[in-house]
Subunit: 185 residues, 2 copies
DNA sequence: TCTGGATAGGTCCGTATTGACATATCCAAG
DNA sequence: CTTGGATATGTCAATACGGACCTATCCAGA
């Protein structure tokens, strides 16, 4: 159900072809929020057309077909966005790995935590550029999806990094406690 | 593919029945990392047994069958956890809504952002209790999954709240810029 | 004793999703 | 003028998943 809203949302920014939309999912949208390939997008676009939530223009060059959101489509999107906050589907392989970290022995776990910190720092550098560099408004004066997403990603990675640093400290503490309980032979 | 690792990971903490595992997904694990109902869990456990990654004990009361991770299962889990960081499947309806926020007109968007801030504050209060209250180590001296997860959730919600506050500010700025461009009639 | 809630296991069906395959056009660089 | 890469759209089969449904046991409290 979420894919259709992602598509409707993207189409409020500008009319787009399935190909354009597939590319949009390759950015921060796909990294933090929802993923979809063209194979999933084309059938869903067809359904949205059937339901009158979007309109499809005639074929352009290379069979390109541009889609535009309708008033009905916008109403549907708005209803979904404003419905009471429920934590719906959540699926994040990266975070799952973080959670399962304590299954490893301390050396492995620490190695992984250090990697997380390094990785987060890299992403932070990239995102800082995006957030500070890009013009924040669309021609009509609306904030840009990608820019908001980058701002979110930035804070997300800061949180991840801080968590990893905290977890490293906790691993150290736990180990010291164990050492105290079983003094060196 | 991730479900199996989640199950293997949970079984490194302690042997568990399918029912126990289903409950584990109702906590912070399911909220931030990966969701699964018992309808997905039972078939996957059967597959893991077939592949020799876990072992299933005889039936106890109410047909309860306790599963234990094998050495092979642990090796599989470890390999997955230590494999180079790739951003795998990500799916988060809540974050998607945040990203699509700028599709709304400023008043609606602001309303939603305020809700996000309120909601985040509530969750923060709950998580602060968990993180500060619970004993951080298992009997064998290993850090508790749930506790690490709560620590992550805490930082996550802080990031969400900060983002929403930042976004609110940006909406204000954008609106003031628009007002400047089209002075009040 | 009986009843409701928690424990415990499971199936089935429709939809969502992914990976692989397939095709055609446009265009710039060699 | 040809070739490779980007643009563009699709299908199909296999798997993953979620919601709904079903059964049965244990036990505490009314």
């Amino acid at each position: 159900m979420a894919l259709r809203y992602a598509l409707l949302g993207l189409l409020t920014e500008r009319p787009a072809s399935g190909y354009d939309l597939a590319k949009a999912f390759e950015g921060d949208l796909g990294r933090y929020a929802w993923q979809a390939g063209h194979n999933r997008i084309y059938p869903e676009l067809a359904r949205l057309v059937d339901e009158g939530l979007i309109e499809r223009a005639e074929e352009g060059a290379r069979g390109r077909r541009v889609h535009t959101i309708t008033a009905a489509g916008f109403a549907e999107l708005r209803a979904w966005l404003l419905q009471p906050l429920v934590s719906g589907a959540v699926r994040n392989e990266g975070v799952l790995r973080l959670f399962l970290l304590s299954a490893l022995d301390p050396d492995d776990a620490r190695k992984l935590l250090h990697e997380i910190v390094t990785h987060a720092e890299q992403e932070l550098a990239r995102l800082k550029d995006t957030v500070s560099g890009e013009t924040p408004v669309s021609p009509e004066g609306r904030l840009d999806f990608g820019w908001l997403a980058a701002g979110y990603g930035l804070r997300q990675y800061e949180a991840s990094r801080d968590w990893a640093v905290w977890a490293l400290g906790e691993f150290d503490k736990a180990e010291r406690r164990q050492a105290g309980r079983h003094p060196a032979a």
